[in-house]
């Protein structure tokens, strides 16, 4: 976790310096935009993490290892794809949830499948942005071809990680 803080802090410092030299960027406007995007998370994130901890407490660790561990193979990848497609929220909410699951023993290919399904299917994003902005004809075609992507990514990850 120390590395994580370091990565983000260095990146933030570097972009802030770059922005300082960039003509059209005002620090105050950026912080206002950031706070605007942060505000809904201040309630959502704690609630989501508490919920995930309770759910993880309810599911026995052996279950995670058997159903979603690295030895669960392709069935585990398929299950992870379904779970990932149902994960709500942006990365600020779903990444902590997946982190709870990864502590509980989910395998790497299964996590790859879960995150891929979450990012390409993203039900919440489809309903709030894609459907109103792109229309049904676009959405159903993109969904149809995207359903196969998460199991594919998980399967490839199984090959890569051996």
């Amino acid at each position: 976790m120390g590395v994580a803080y370091l990565t983000v802090a260095v990146l933030l410092a570097a972009t802030a310096v770059a922005a300082h030299r960039h003509p059209g960027v005002e620090h105050r406007a950026v912080w206002r935009l950031g706070f605007h995007q942060l505000r809904p998370l201040l309630l959502r994130l704690p609630v989501a993490i508490v919920a995930a901890s309770f759910v993880a407490e309810l599911i026995p660790p052996e279950w995670f290892a058997r159903m979603l561990g690295s030895s669960s193979g392709l069935p585990g990848v398929l299950l992870a794809s379904v779970l990932g497609g149902a994960l709500p929220g942006g990365p600020s909410v779903s990444f902590p949830l997946v982190l709870v699951l990864s502590h509980a023993g989910v395998g790497v290919p299964q996590m790859v499948a879960m995150l891929t399904a979450w990012s390409v299917l993203a039900l919440h994003r489809v309903l709030t942005f894609e459907l109103p902005m792109m229309g049904w004809a676009f959405v159903w075609r993109r969904w149809l071809v995207s359903v196969m992507l998460a199991p594919l990514a998980g399967g490839l990850a199984m090959l890569v990680t051996g």
Partner: protein, 178 residues
Amino acid sequence: MARSRGHGLLVDRVTLFFSVLAVSAGTAVWWTRGDAAVRAAFGHAAGLLLMVLPLVLFAVMLAAYIQQMLPMGLAERWLGAGSGVRGLLLATLAGAVTPGGPFSAFPLVVGLRGVGASLPVCVAYLTAWSVLGLQRVLVWEIPFFGADFAAVRLLVSLPLPLIAGAAVMALTRPTRGD
């Protein structure tokens, strides 16, 4: 109940969903395992939150800086005329470097459609933005899951936008030729 979107500390649908989940799962934990288990789960959640919250704070500010600095008109100029495999490759590259959340990606796709980009190009672009988005990798994935995991996931995700774009091409060929 939920207030309208975009006003401060609102209880939106996602928060409501997690609240219901927390209360019902918490009750189930208390029922089956008793007080101690509920306290242990709370302690675990509090520890995780303390670890994650500063990360989220930094990440959101970082994302805001990136959003302010990169010009959005660039991608439209690039992708409007692209077609075939070349168009799909350009779309993949553009999707990977597009910063920001759905607030920035979707208006861009609407713009792309407007300037004549084909359906497969738009799908490849959106898929690349979803699975290869470099900003999300730097800001969220590496801090949360480590560089090793991010590298494996990126490697296996590289072909996905092309596959999605080509599949849409096959799907739409009868009605829309290139």
